[in-house]
């Protein structure tokens, strides 16, 4: 197990308790009582079959307006996360890497990131453009990225791998306290997966206090990003939690066993 060293504070940074949520306007909950605690510096994997609610959990944490929370609570750094707008959540340190990042035509990645950083400053305070440029270059070097990439328009005409790398770059620049990675591995070939995993590992090493919630369908990304804990989510609730061995069991047996449990 990859226990982070030097983490004296053992209280969770993220506490999810009895969380229920549905698609806004729909009659039935997708999340049916999720409980989860993540401590600073920990990496938790949430695995589950399609339709288990794992992506819904990611979106609810980020504050997607298409979802409605019907019960339970989410505390992040002691604050009620559910009371906050998506931009406030981001400013408090939550970052979601999207499964399907959206195109913003005509807006360069550099411009996008500059606006995002500027938005974090107090009224009247101004981001220094030279400092920003320096930060961007430094972050891109850290991730072995070509500086020309920052001049491309956000996700416009990007391959699947480029979209995910763009998410990692944003994470590197915005330096979150909690990174929620929503099926970052889906649709990536093994080379792209390795690059993305390398990015996440580099950032984890650089920011040991950063917690990661890795949401995935497949075990294979866990070969490259070592989790401290693995949770299995089925039917809108976490049905099993444990160490990395849980993922290996899943790899061997599939989700069938859990389906039988929840159906019965």
């Amino acid at each position: 197990m990859n226990q982070p060293e030097g983490q004296m504070d053992d209280s969770p940074i993220l506490s999810i308790s009895g969380l229920t949520a549905r698609v806004a306007g729909e009659p039935i909950d997708i999340l049916k009582g999720v409980d989860l605690a993540v401590r600073p510096g920990e990496t938790h994997a949430i695995m589950g079959p399609n339709g288990s609610g794992k992506s819904t959990l990611a979106k609810v944490l980020a504050g997607h307006p298409g979802y409605e929370v019907t019960g339970g609570s989410v505390a992040f750094r002691g604050q009620d996360l559910l009371e906050m707008e998506p931009d406030e959540r981001a400013q408090t340190g939550v970052f979601m890497a999207f499964q399907y990042p959206v195109e913003i035509p005509g807006v360069s990645i550099a411009n996008f990131l500059r606006t995002a950083l500027q938005a974090r400053l107090a009224d009247g305070e101004e981001l220094d453009l030279f400092d920003f440029q320096e930060l961007l270059v430094e972050r891109m070097e850290l991730l072995d990225m070509d500086p020309a990439f920052a001049e491309r328009h956000v996700n416009e005409g990007f391959s699947g791998g480029e979209k995910k790398r763009n998410e990692i770059l944003q994470m590197a620049v915005l330096k979150p306290t909690l990174a929620v990675m929503d099926e970052t591995d889906s649709g990536l070939d093994i080379d792209a997966l390795k690059i993305v995993a390398h990015g996440v590992n580099t950032l984890k090493k650089e920011m040991p206090g950063m917690s990661v919630l890795l949401i995935t369908h497949y075990q294979r990304i866990l070969d490259h990003i070592a989790p401290d804990a693995v949770h299995v989510m089925v039917g809108g609730a976490i049905v099993q939690s444990g160490g990395p061995e849980v993922a290996l069991e899943l790899e061997a047996q599939g989700y069938e066993e859990y389906r039988a449990v929840t159906a019965g």
Partner: protein, 471 residues
Amino acid sequence: MPQNEVIQGLDLDDYKFGFVTDSEPVFRTRPGLDSDIVRQISARKDEPEWMLKRRLKALDIYESKPMPDWGGDLSELEDTLSETYFYVKPQEKMERSWDDVPENIKQTFERLGIPEAERKILAGVGAQYDSEMVYHSLKEEWESKGVIFDSIEDGLKNHPELFRKHFGTVIPAADNKFAALNSAVWSGGSFVYIPPGVHLETPLQAYFRVNQERLGQFERTLIIAGEGSRAHYIEGCTAPVYSSDSFHSGVIEIVVGRDAFFRYTTIQNWSTNMYNLVTQRALVQQGGHMEWLDGNLGSKLTMKYPSCYLMGEGAHGEILSIAYAGDGQHQDTGGKVIHVAPNTSSSIVSKSISKGTGRASYRGLCKVYDGASNAKSNVECDALLINETSRTDTFPYIEIDERSASVGHEATVSKVGDEQLFYLMSRGMDEAEAMALIVRGFIEPIAKELPLEYAVELNRLIELEMEGSVG
């Protein structure tokens, strides 16, 4: 890149050009229009007989033509015009030195951000206040090379032959009702001549300000770009916010000589009580290159379709049009390209943003005459809708009489998506910032062509307009 930086420092008040200057005109005609008013205008300008005759003939044409029943809603215009002052003379004579401009008028332009520093980077500056140019200057460097940059009145006085040879040849009075009106009551505007081979390295700029309530502003600009010359002319327009409507109807005629390059940029930010009905046209000779960069942000109703008549072989015309229609505004804009000669090429790129109850219409014409072999034209219009109540229309007219012509047309309509907004907000931007970034990206292909101070102004305006646009 540095645009954002500047925006942060700007004051984001409401329409910041809406102030009124307390200034007494030295003369104004009574409200309304008849031949007597036309005679008064001509007499005040001490014009030759031929010009008075032209004006009176144009008045007849204006009166005989019906109000257009297409484009925007002109049903209340007749009433507005009967109350309009067609000529308001702000000061006795036009000044060549900024110091000599009356203090209150000078302050107005300083408040509009046309300070000394900005003037330094321009080849020449003109400023029109109500019906006349109050100031015109051209850098010595260009004057010595034979460049003429003058008020239209002084163009007629000091260069009568050149003036008469071209005036009204690009846009005759009979072209349309408002061209006829302008030809009858024109006042103010620029006369520009770029001698053959002269390359102006920095732009000429004219600024148009309406201060008088219920004014009709009818500037007339005539530009002659000699063979192989290059120049860029920029105009900007603002007005105070009044409860009654005002009227602006300019005519811009441009002759682009052989192998010459000319770019005309407009950033129109009239207050939303302004009717803005403008005719702009360029005749492009062999190998010439004309670009219209047309930004329509303000006004109640704008009807404006800058056009390029590609008269000589290999001539090229380009129209970049950007329109923003906020609550209650209608921007009926676009462009016209007319291919007369072989191997001519043209492109129209139009981007519009409609917000609230705003309506943006693209109206364009691409015409290829028989004999304009291998003519090529491409039209692209993209509309962005911000709210459910926003509206956009596309009226592309294509008339092709030449087999070998190749003409393309593409139109898209997009709405600001919830997923886009969420994506940006999940990175820490609030709704207004996210919306402004999306809109800025949408207009980026055109904004990047603008001179910096106008790009900044455009971005500032968008930032401002997006406040409270969501939810």
